[in-house]
Subunit: 373 residues, 2 copies
C-alpha cells in the first residue's frame, strides 16, 4: 500500500500559520475548503493524549468565513437554516445546519452574528459562498457575500483558558460558551470565540491580518512552555469519542439534519422561514429512516475508513460506518455509523465489515465519552 | 522541510479507479472537488516524457459533472457564461468560463450538451452545483441540478487513438475535437469525448458505473502493452508548456476571464444574456489591468510554487508567478505569471523572486510550446 504525499500547489491554499505548522513537523495533511489542514504531528494517538491533558494550538485557517452583509443579510441567512435565528444576539456563535429545498445538508457552519446586518458563516468543507451568492443574486437580495481574509487559529485542551489569558488577557475568562468578544493582540483587535472542534474546552481566534500569523502562533507557544503547549489539529479519535460529526465524512449532501441527529437545531415548531421547511416537516412527521449512531467494536488497531464499511445485524445490511478509530481510553474500536431505523437502538449487536475482516460490535449512544472525561 | 502524507478519509472521496491508481504506485495526491487526484507516478519529469511519447490512462474522476436538466436548463447555463451557447450542438463539448455578477471567475468547465434541455458541466475545483442550485432555486427556474455518479477516465498521449480503438472500437477515430459520442464497453454505453487536460491528444471516457471502473482501467492497460501504456495524471510540466491554466492556481475567484486570456470565449458582440455582462463590458472597454502570461527563466531545478512568487522589472513589482516547473525540453524554468499591463509584452526582461533566490527571466507568449511538439 502506498502512502502518497500531498502534492501542494497554490490551489491547496496555505495559511498564515503554514510555515510554523511545517516547522513543527506536521506528518499528515488534508485539504479542506481548498486549504491545507494538518491531521497529525506526532501520531494521531500521541496527539490525542496530549490534547486531553494539556493545550494545543491548531491552524484551522481552513474554517473559511463566508461574510454576508446588507439589509437583507439576516433574511438570507435565516432562509438557509431551519435553526431559529430571530433571537440571536450580537456576540453569539450559533451552530446551524444549512439545507437545500429537499432538506438535504449543504454544510453545518457556526454562524457568528457580528451586527444586525452582518454575519460570518464559519464553514465546513463546501463552497457556501457560491450557494449564498446564487441565492442572493437570483433572489435580488441586498446582501454582499465574500470570503474575507480571516484565518481561525484554535487553542484547545484543558489548559486553554490559562494559555489564552496569558496572551490575550484576563477578559478571556469572561467569554461564555459559544460567545465571542473582541480582544487585542499587539494592539490589533481580534475576534475570539469560546468554540472549537474538540470537547476538551478552548477558543478560536479569528485572525484577520496575515502578517500577524506567525507572531500569534509564537506568542502562544512561548507563553505555554510550562503548560506543555504543542502543535495540534482536529483529532480523529477525540472527535469520534466526543460525537463531533464531520461534514463530508459522517454527514453528506445525501443526508438531512434529522439523520444527522440535529433535531435540536431544527425549529419546526417556530415561525422559521427557511427553504426546505416543508420537506423537513415531512421527514419529521415520518421520522428519519436512518440516523448517525455510535458503535463500539472489538479491535486492537483500526485502519482509516476511506470508503463506507458495511454494518450488519443478524447477517442483514443495516447501514455503514463512515469514520472509525481505536480509542485508547475505551480500549476498543469506535465508529460513527449511519444505521437504518429499527436497527439503531443502543446495545444492538452488529458486525462491521472492515477491510481487515469482520469485527463484532455494539450500537451505542453519542457521545461515546461525555465532554471533559 | 516536511513532506506530509495526504491523510485520506471518506471526505476526500475515492474513485472507481483509486485501487488501481494505488496499485500502480501513485507517489503524490492532491484533492480536487473533494476527490483524490494523482499528481505523479514515477516522477513528474519521467511522467512528462512518457506522456509526450506514449499513452497514459488518467483517473480524473475528480472532474465532477454538474448535471442541469429541465425546461429552463439552457437558459440557466447560458446565464452563467459569456460564451454564446445559442448554436451549441448536441454532441459538442464547450470550454466556458463561468462568471459572477462582477465578471469574476467562478469556474471554467467543459460543457457537454447532451440534449436541448440537458447539460453536464465538467468542472474545475469549486462547487458549481451549489452555485447553479442557488441561482435556480431563488430564480424559480425549472432546472434540476445534481452531481451524477460519473467519473471521467482520460486516455492521453500521441498513441491514444490507437489504444482507444482497440478497447472501444474504430468509431473512436470519427470523434471530432471537442465532440463526444456514445460507445460501448462490455455492452455498456459510455460517453467518450475527444478532450483532456493535456495537449498531446486523447480522450475522456465518462464512466457512469462504479462496478466497471477497474474493468475499464484493466482493459486499457492490457490492450496497450506494445504501446507502452502506463498510469498517468495531469502533468505540471506539460500543462505549463502547453498553456493550460489551472483554476485555483493560475486563475482564481479574484480574476476575470479577460485577465485569464479567455476573450475568445467571451462573446460580448453577440446577444448573450449572462450575468456579469455589464461588468465584463466595462473591463473589455478599458482592457484588462493584468493578464496571465508565460515566463522562461534561468534555472536547473524549480521548486513547487505554493505561494505566488513576486515578479519584478527594473526592480519594480509587476506581478507574480502562480505555477512553475523546469522544462526538460526547453531546458529552463517555465512559469505562468499574472502580469500588469505595460509589463506583459513578450521579451521583457524580468526577475522572479523564487524561494531559492532571484532568477532572471523573459516574458513569453502562451503556449510556450505549440501543441504536439
Amino acid at each position: 500500500m502506498t502512502t502518497p504525499i500531498l502534492a501542494a500547489s497554490r490551489r491547496t491554499r496555505r495559511t498564515p500559520f503554514s510555515a510554523r505548522v511545517e516547522a513543527a513537523g506536521v506528518k499528515g495533511y488534508t485539504v479542506y475548503n481548498h486549504m491545507l489542514l494538518a491531521t497529525s504531528f506526532r501520531s494521531v494517538e500521541e496527539d490525542y493524549w496530549h490534547l486531553k491533558r494539556h493545550v494545543q494550538v491548531w491552524d484551522v485557517g481552513c474554517e473559511r468565513q463566508v461574510e454576508i452583509v446588507g439589509s437583507d443579510a439576516a433574511r438570507l441567512v435565516q432562509s438557509m437554516t431551519p435553526r431559529d435565528l430571530s433571537k440571536a444576539q450580537i456576540g453569539q456563535c450559533l451552530y446551524a445546519p444549512l439545507i437545500d429545498e429537499a432538506a438535504l445538508m449543504i454544510n453545518d457552519p457556526v454562524i457568528l452574528k457580528l451586527a444586525p446586518d452582518r454575519f460570518w458563516l464559519s464553514i465546513a468543507d463546501t463552497d457556501v459562498e457560491l450557494w449564498a451568492k446564487g441565492l442572493a443574486y437570483a433572489g435580488k437580495l441586498q446582501a454582499r457575500i465574500t470570503e474575507p481574509d480571516v484565518w481561525p487559529l484554535a487553542v484547545q485542551g484543558p489548559k486553554a483558558d490559562d494559555l489564552m489569558a496569558r496572551v490575550l488577557g484576563d477578559k478571556v475568562a469572561s467569554i461564555g460558551y459559544f460567545r465571542f468578544a473582541t480582544l487585542a493582540f499587539k494592539r490589533h483587535p481580534l475576534i475570539v470565540a469560546r468554540t472549537g472542534w474538540s470537547r476538551q474546552g478552548g477558543f478560536e481566534i479569528y485572525l484577520d491580518d496575515w502578517a500577524l500569523g506567525e507572531k500569534l502562533w509564537d506568542a502562544l507557544m512561548d507563553a505555554g512552555d510550562d503548560l506543555d503547549v504543542g502543535p495540534g489539529c482536529p483529532n480523529l479519535i477525540e472527535r469520534i469519542e466526543s460525537g463531533l460529526l464531520s461534514f463530508g465524512n459522517d454527514v453528506t449532501r445525501a443526508n438531512n439534519p434529522l439523520e444527522a441527529g440535529l433535531e435540536r437545531f431544527c425549529h419546526l415548531n417556530r415561525a422559521v422561514d427557511c427553504m426546505g421547511r416543508r420537506a423537513l416537516e415531512e421527514i419529521a412527521a415520518k421520522g428519519p429512516a436512518r440516523r448517525v449512531r455510535g458503535i463500539r467494536f472489538n479491535a486492537q488497531a483500526v485502519p482509516g475508513c476511506v470508503l463506507p464499511w458495511p454494518v450488519k445485524a443478524k447477517r442483514k445490511p443495516i447501514g455503514h460506518v463512515t469514520s472509525a478509530a481505536f480509542s485508547p481510553q475505551l480500549k476498543c474500536g469506535i465508529a460513527f455509523a449511519l444505521l437504518d431505523r429499527d436497527h439503531w437502538e443502543a446495545g444492538l449487536a452488529v458486525t462491521i465489515e472492515t477491510p481487515e475482516g469482520p469485527r463484532p460490535g455494539t450500537v451505542a449512544d453519542l457521545p461515546l465519552i461525555p465532554p471533559g472525561r
